[in-house]
Amino acid sequence: MRAGTATVGPANGGGNGSAGAAKKKKMNGYVGFSNYPNQQHRRSIKRGFNFTLMVVGESGLGKSTLINTLFESRVYPVKDGEDSSTPRNGAQVASPTGVDITSVSADIVENGVKLRLSVVDTPGFGDSVNNDEAWRPILENIESRFDAYLAQENRVNRSKIVDNRVNVLLYFIKPTGHGLRAMDIEFMKHLHTRVNLVPVIARADTLTPREVEQFKAKILADINFHGIHIFKPVSDHFDDPETISDNKAIAGKIPFAVVGSEQYVVRSDGTRVRGRQYPWGVIEVENENHNDFVALRQMLLRTHMEELRDQTDVSLYESYRTQKLLALGHVQNNSVFREFNPRRQQEEEERLHAAKMHKLEAEMSAVFKQKVHEKEGKLKQSEEELHSRHQTMKLTLEKQRRDLEEKKSRFTQSDSPQVAAAAAAANAANASFVDPAQRMASKDKKKNRFF
C-alpha cells in the first residue's frame, strides 16, 4: 500500500502481541525467510526515502547555517561572496501575519541510498511587533500537508502517493539564559501534538558550559510545567546495551546547544575543520566539548531518522486523521462492505442450495411413491387370498349342508326315536354352521379397516 514499509505487527515495540493464538515452532535447518529484511532493504534503496524538516525561529539565530552544516552545504548552495544571510529562492507562500513558508528540496545520494530532503523555512517568524498568531501559519502548513496525504490515501486510484508531511521541527531558542519566552511556549503548546518537536539552543557560542547547563535545566522545567511533548530517543528491549547507552547520552543533551558554520578554520595542529574564529579562540562545530552539534546530527540523521518518520506516520498523522474524520461526522458504516462482495456469492449459494433441495424433494417423493405402490400391491394380494379362501370355505360349507339335509330327510322318513335325537343334533349342527359364515363376514370387516 505504501512504498517500502511493511505494515504489520503492533505499533509499540511490545513484541508479538497481536496474534494471541500463534504457537512457536522450531525448524530443522535454514529455511531462508530471515532474508526478508534484505529483500526489503534492496527495494527501499531502489525507491529512496523522503525526509521533510522544518526550521522555526527568529531571524538571525542561524537556522540556514545550521541546515547547511548538517547537510554539508547541499541544501542551500552558497555562492562566492554570499552567506546564509542572503535571501533564498524557493516556493513561497505569503501569509498575512508576516510569516512566510518557503520550501527547498534536494536529492542527495550517499552509498547508493537516495534521500529526497525537503527543508521548510519560516522567515519572518517572531519578527513582527505583534507575534500572537505567529504560530498559526506554521500549524496550518503542517496540517495542510496532512490533509494532502489524507486526500491521496482516500483516492480510488492510489498508485502514486507523495509524502511531504513534516517529519521533524527544529525550534530555535534564543540564548538568553532565562528560560523559555512567551512566544516559545505559545508556539510549542500549539504545535507539539502535530509534529516531532526538537528544541535547539541557537548560537550557543555566547554561553559558557555552566550557563548552558542552567539554561537547559530551565527550559526543560518550563517544558514539563506546560505539559509540552518533545521528541526524545527511547530504547526498548530489542536494543543492545551499546545502543541503549547511546540513546541515553543523546537524550541527556536535549535541548541541543548548537553552533553551525559554513566556514572552515585551521586548528593549531593544522587540520581544517568547520568552525568560527574568534579573537579568544576557535569554536569547532564537530567538537563535542564545544557544542552539541554532533549529538543533534547523530539523532536526526544517523540513528533516529526512521523513528522520526515512523512517529509522524503512525502517531501524529493518525491522531490528526482520527480527529478530522470524527469532526466531519464520519461514522463507520460496516454493513456497506459486507454487502457487495458476498451478495453475489450469496445468490450463487442460494441457487445451489435450492437446486439441492429440489433434488432431495424429487428423490423423496419418488421413494414415497414406490413404497405406497408396494404396500398397495401387498394388500391387494392378501385381499384376493382371503376372498378365494372365503369362496372355497363357502363351497365346502354348502356341500356339507346339502349332505346333512339329505341325511336329515332320510332320517325323518324312517320315523324312529333316533330320528328325533338325530334331528336335534342336526339342528345344533345347523346353528354352529352359521358361525363360520359370520366369522368370515366379520373378518372381511376387519380387513376393510386396512384401507
Binding site: M1, G4, A6, T7, V8, G9, P10, G13, S18, A19, A22, K23, K24, M27, N28, V31, G32, F33, N35, Y36, P37, Q39, R43, I45, K46, E72, S103, I108, V109, E110, V113, L115, S144, A148, L150, N154, V156, N157, D236, L301, R302, T303, M305, E306, E307, D313, V314, S315, R321, T322, L326, Q332, N333, V336, F337, R338, N341, Q345, E348, E349
Partner: protein
C-alpha cells in the same frame, strides 16, 4: 534534477539499518493458501518448505470417515523465528476442494475467503480510529497443486485458476512429481504454459516497469520452471551414512534437495529467499488495490444511484440524509 554525491559524509545512509531494526521489532505476517484435491501432497510440501511439521494432512484415514461435501477453509497460525526475524505464518488448508464427483462451485469458498481478507483489511483501513499497523491476514501466495500425469490442465484447473489469479498470487506446483521422468515433466510444463496463455491465466511472478535487469532475468528463469515439479518429504533417509531428506523407492532414493531430482530447492528459494518481500508487496499493491478500487467504485455508484433515485422521487425522504459512508473527502483539500 541531478543528485550530487555528498562530499563529506552526512550519514543518512544508515537509514536502511534503522528500518531493519524497526522491522525486526515488528516481525511480519505471511499467509499462504493451499488449493488442490486431497492426496496431492499439500501438507507434506508445506512442511518440507518450512522444515517443520506445520500442518497435518486432512485426508481420510479410515473408511468410516465421511468424504467432505463442501470445501472447508482451515487456517492455522504459528510463529517461526530465524536469526531474530519473526514471521507469523498462517497456512490455510482447503480440505474437500475437488473431492466430489460434481465439483461445480468447489472454488466458491476459497475465493470468498481470499476476498473476505481484503474486505476486512479495507474496513479497518477506512475506520476513523484505526491501528496504524493493521494485522495483515490477506493471502500472499496460493500454491495450486496440479495432478501429475494429466495431459496439461484439467477443466477444473482452468476454471479455478482463472478465478484465483484475479485475487491472489498463484504459484502452480506438481507436488508428487516422482512419477514423471524429466522429459515428461518438460512436456507437461510446456503444455501447461501453452494452456495458461491460451486461457489468459497469468500466474506469479508478474513483470512491472520498476524491474531492473537483474529482476527481469530472475523472473524469466522462474517462469521457465513454472509449474514447479517438486517432491516433498518429512523423512530423513540414510544414504551411504549421510542423512538425506527424501523418499526411498525399490529402485532408488529421491533427494528432494537435489536439483537434478526435482525443483524443490528452486521453489523454496523463490518463495522465501528472493521473492518473499515481493509476494507481500504485490498482494498489497496490486490485488488489494484492485479490490479496493472496485469496492469504492461500487459504493460511489450506489450512492449516485440513491441520490438519483431520491432526486427522481421528489424528496421522498429516504435518499435525502444519507450518513457519509467512509471518509471520502467532501471538500477540496489545500495543496502545498
Amino acid at each position: 534534477m541531478t543528485a550530487p554525491e555528498v562530499q563529506d559524509y552526512v550519514g543518512f545512509d544508515t537509514i536502511t539499518q534503522q528500518m531493519e531494526r524497526k522491522f525486526l521489532k515488528r516481525g511480519f505476517n505471511l499467509n499462504v493458501i493451499l488449493v488442490g484435491e486431497s492426496g496431492m501432497g499439500k501438507s507434506t510440501l508445506v512442511n518440507s518448505i518450512f522444515s517443520t511439521h506445520l500442518v497435518d494432512s486432512q485426508g481420510r484415514r479410515t473408511a468410516q470417515e465421511v468424504i467432505r461435501k463442501t470445501t472447508e477453509i482451515l487456517p492455522v497460525t504459528q510463529t517461526l523465528d530465524e536469526n531474530g526475524v519473526r514471521v507469523r505464518l498462517t497456512i490455510i488448508d482447503t480440505p474437500g476442494f475437488g473431492d466430489q464427483c460434481n465439483n461445480e462451485g468447489c472454488w466458491v469458498q476459497v475465493i470468498k475467503y481470499i476476498k473476505d481478507q481484503h474486505a476486512a483489511y479495507l474496513e479497518r483501513e477506512l475506520k476513523p480510529q484505526r491501528d496504524r499497523i493493521i494485522n495483515d491476514t490477506r493471502v500472499h501466495a496460493c500454491l495450486y497443486f496440479l495432478n501429475p500425469g494429466s495431459r496439461g490442465l484439467r477443466p477444473l484447473d482452468v476454471e479455478v485458476l482463472k478465478r484465483l489469479t484475479e485475487v491472489t498470487n498463484v504459484i502452480p506446483v506438481i507436488a508428487k512429481s516422482d512419477s514423471m521422468t524429466l522429459d515428461e515433466r518438460t512436456l507437461f510444463k510446456r503444455r501447461v504454459k501453452e494452456e495458461m496463455s491460451f486461457h489468459r491465466i497469468s500466474v506469479y511472478p508478474y513483470s512491472s516497469e520498476d524491474d531492473d535487469d537483474e529482476d527481469r532475468m530472475l523472473n524469466a528463469s522462474i517462469r521457465e520452471l513454472v509449474p514447479f515439479a517438486v517432491v516433498g518429504s518429512e523423512e530423513t533417509i540414510d544414504v551411504d551414512d549421510k542423512p538425506v531428506r527424501g523418499r526411498r523407492h525399490g529402485w532408488g532414493v529421491i533427494n528432494i534437495f537435489d536439483e537434478t531430482h526435482c525443483d524443490f530447492v528452486h521453489l523454496r528459494n523463490f518463495m522465501l529467499r528472493t521473492h518473499l518481500s515481493d509476494l507481500v508487496e504485490v498482494t498489497a499493491q496490486r490485488h488489494y488495490e484492485q479490490f479496493r478500487t472496485s469496492q469504492l467504485r461500487q459504493i460511489k455508484e450506489l450512492r449516485a444511484q440513491q441520490a438519483a433515485a431520491a432526486a427522481a422521487g421528489g424528496g421522498g425522504g429516504s435518499g435525502s440524509s444519507q450518513p457519509p459512508v467512509g471518509p471520502l473527502p467532501h471538500q477540496p483539500m489545500a495543496q502545498v
